[in-house]
């Protein structure tokens, strides 16, 4: 009987768990428990957690432009929680999800729902930077332990950092800052035009690139190509604004569907072929984008990111194969890694405080002290910025005979920490 529940669970976990499924599961579990009780053959499993339930509120987008990112992060979290039997520090971990959607108003409502209605012990999630920044004061005011699982807005590691908000993903500065040096010095490309989605993340990323690039003798060729965000319209005028004859290449920040439509259009118009170098923050050619554009991919693009699918370390090989097995062939992406690591931080911190989260300062100290070998390499927090310190990999976009289009690691900058004070 219990195998049936487990099979059902495994099957359901491949997709997104929502409240209806939990209800269904609850009903069938209750029925089975009833049958078991009547039969008088009560089987007691291995000793389960006896402490109070630990409720985790997950606020991620499950609809709108970032739905795929939300699903990947949730899958990653699920995978880690399952691997430890959904418990830590003698407490059962229950996940309550709420839809971050796109607009800040909806993200605020979702946060208030998990905190006030569901009474969670901790909050994790936030894909888009404005939504993380917009919920910051509320979470900080409540002293709610929070992990940001994607949103990269620099200020959360700087002026607006909070002792209760840590980030497991990246700051927008991190992937782009080493790339300026790399492009100017190692690749010797000195004339670059900037291409970016005009919003917080895009502006912060290209600013970090520009700093080291011009510092290494490079020149930014204007005017910048700044697309609206999200760009639901035609990308043609923006692709044509790239001055192919005056530059050595472009540095680009775009993500998700914006990257897909831009790269497709750039391939179609032949712009990519005329460029000596396509470089950028790795989201531009991350696995979700490459899967959508296939052979329109910019062959040989050089990008910086805190992970790459073919990373050779044991943790990553293990993660990538288990992930695709668990989620019926879905390829892992950087967002799934972030979810996986976020769950691990929670579990290790809970274990460290033996499940006692009433002393929030002690719990946050435990979170700050978590470090481990992640699929992305060494993972630890920076005590000054509350942000993850990690290796930034320089990757080259190639068509791998086994993996298809992916990003091969060609160089790395270990221990990159946001410069916040």
């Amino acid at each position: 009987m219990s195998d049936e529940i487990e099979d059902y669970l495994n099957w359901k976990l491949a997709g997104r768990i929502d409240r209806r499924d939990f209800l269904k599961l609850g009903v069938s579990a209750a029925g089975i428990a009833l049958v078991a009780a009547c039969g008088g053959s009560n089987t007691v499993g291995p000793t389960g957690p006896t402490g109070p339930e630990f409720k985790l509120g997950v606020v991620l987008p499950y609809s709108g432009v970032y739905a795929e990112l939300g699903n990947s992060i949730t899958n990653g979290m699920r995978m880690y929680f399952d691997s430890v039997g959904n418990q830590a520090g003698n407490r059962k971990i229950t996940v309550v999800t709420a839809d971050e959607q796109v607009a800040l108003a909806d993200a605020v409502a979702a946060t208030k729902k998990v905190v006030e209605q569901d009474g969670v012990d901790m909050v994790a999630g936030y894909v888009s930077s404005p939504n993380a920044a917009g919920n910051r004061n509320y979470l900080d005011g409540l002293k709610m332990p929070t992990l940001i699982a994607n949103a990269g807005v620099n200020s959360l590691s700087r002026a607006a950092k909070s002792p209760f908000i840590y980030r497991t993903s990246f700051s927008n500065w991190q992937p782009s800052h080493p790339m300026g040096t790399y492009v100017a010095e190692k690749l010797g490309k000195k004339k670059i035009q900037l291409v970016y989605a005009k919003y917080g993340a895009g502006l912060e990323a290209v600013a970090a690139f520009k700093e080291t690039f011009t510092g290494s003798g490079g020149t930014i060729v204007g005017p910048d190509v700044a697309t609206p965000f999200p760009n639901n319209g035609d990308q043609t005028p923006f692709v044509q604004a790239i001055q192919t004859d005056k530059i050595d290449g472009i540095y680009c920040f775009m993500s998700g569907t914006d990257a897909v439509t831009f790269l497709k259009k750039a391939a179609e118009l032949g712009t990519l072929k005329k460029l000596g170098l396509v470089s950028g923050a790795g989201f531009f050619v991350e696995q979700d984008v490459l899967a959508a554009i296939t052979d329109a991919a910019p062959d040989g693009a050089i990008t910086g990111l805190h992970w790459a699918l073919p990373l050779a370390n044991k943790e990553n090989q293990d993660f990538v194969s288990k992930y695709s097995k668990k989620f019926s062939g879905r390829q892992a992406d950087v967002f799934a890694v972030q979810g996986f690591d976020t769950a691990r931080v929670i579990v290790e911190a809970l274990n460290a405080v033996k499940g006692n989260t009433t002393n929030k300062d002690a719990f946050m100290t435990a979170i700050a002290g978590v470090s481990f070998k992640s699929p992305r390499g060494d993972f630890k927090f920076d005590a000054t910025t509350n942000n993850v310190v990690q290796t930034i990999y320089v990757r080259k976009t190639v068509k791998d005979p086994k993996l298809g289009w992916t990003n091969q690691v060609i160089d790395q900058y270990p221990g990159v920490a946001d410069p916040g004070k």
Binding site: K113, P130, A133, V153, K198, G200
Partner: protein, 301 residues
């Protein structure tokens, strides 16, 4: 009256989260009522009303961030800011009618949305203005009443909503309101009678914009932020749904509609992935079977 009392008791028994939702619904109700002055009474199907909601929110936010902490100046800022935006937009859009008016108002609202996204030095673009403080209440501070608490803020919204309701009701009962309805029914005849119909329409448009601006100010105070999403066409669409579902040509209808839409959005989005689909079905059902909206249902009963 009973409704107001029932609403007023909410902070006494409802959990904190529901006080928040009820506050949001009240603000949305003010917005929907202002739209009904156009859609219901003046017969002007505006699809860009979110423009004034958003402008109101930004005006209030900018002033609050500039260290103005008086409640009245902040509400006035939203109201006048939105009115100032409504005057030129109305003057141009009202040269058309019907579907053209609808498209023009939509276009103007989207232009303002684009402005909010791109004028980064003023609006901080897509990130929006965040960390907007709520106004202080001089004198009441000593009594430990602060607008940062949900109860008092809810009462503030309730008071403003009732005031708006009373003003709008008396407006449509006044000769001005009757003239407006006359223009809706037969513009040519009213002109023949000597009424400057364009000016009447423009006055209604600006008034509706100003009330939407008040709602926008409250929204900025309530959320603590102003983002371009507030001006997006989906907000205008949601308000239109509230007006139609609640019932046009009454102010209690759109207010009820606003509550229904907000609670539906919240309730449905918790249980159904594609909650917009369910809301759409609800909307179609109302248009087909209850063209007079919730109010029509009450009146029939």
């Amino acid at each position: 009256m009973l409704l107001a009392l029932a609403l007023a008791s909410i902070p006494l028994w409802a959990p904190r989260f529901w006080i928040y939702i009820a506050t949001q619904a009240l603000i949305f109700a003010i917005f929907a009522m202002s739209l009904d002055l156009l859609v219901g009474y003046a017969g002007l199907p505006s699809f860009g009303h979110a423009a004034f909601y958003g402008v109101g929110a930004y005006a209030c936010a900018l002033l609050a961030l500039g260290h103005v902490d008086g409640l009245v100046p902040l509400l006035l800022a939203g109201m006048l800011g939105a009115g100032a935006a409504a005057l030129p937009i109305g003057a141009l859009s009202l040269r058309t009618s019907g579907i053209y008016f609808l498209m023009l108002t939509l276009a103007f609202a989207q232009m303002l949305w684009g402005l909010a996204v791109n004028w980064t030095s003023l609006t901080r673009g897509t990130d929006g203005l965040i960390g907007i403080p709520r106004p202080a209440l001089p004198g009441l501070d000593t009594l430990n009443v602060s607008l940062y608490d949900r109860g008092p803020f809810f009462f503030l919204c309730l008071l403003v909503a009732i005031a708006v309701f009373v003003v709008l009701e008396s407006l449509v009962r006044s000769p001005f309101g009757k003239t407006l309805e006359g223009i809706r029914e037969n513009d040519r005849r009213m002109r023949a009678l000597g009424f400057p119909t364009f000016r009447y329409r423009l006055a209604a448009f600006v008034l509706a914009g100003m009330v939407a601006g008040i709602a926008g100010s409250l929204a900025a105070m309530s959320n603590g932020f102003a983002t371009p999403d507030l001006l997006y066409w989906t907000v205008s669409g949601l308000a239109l749904i509230a007006v139609v579902v609640g019932g046009t040509r009454s102010f209690i209808g759109p207010a009820l509609g606003a509550f229904l839409v907000l609670f539906a959005q919240l309730g449905l989005s918790t249980y159904i992935d594609r909650w917009e689909l369910a809301l759409g079905a609800l909307f179609i059902a109302f248009v087909l079977f209850l063209p007079r909206g919730l109010v029509g249902l009450v009146r029939r009963a």
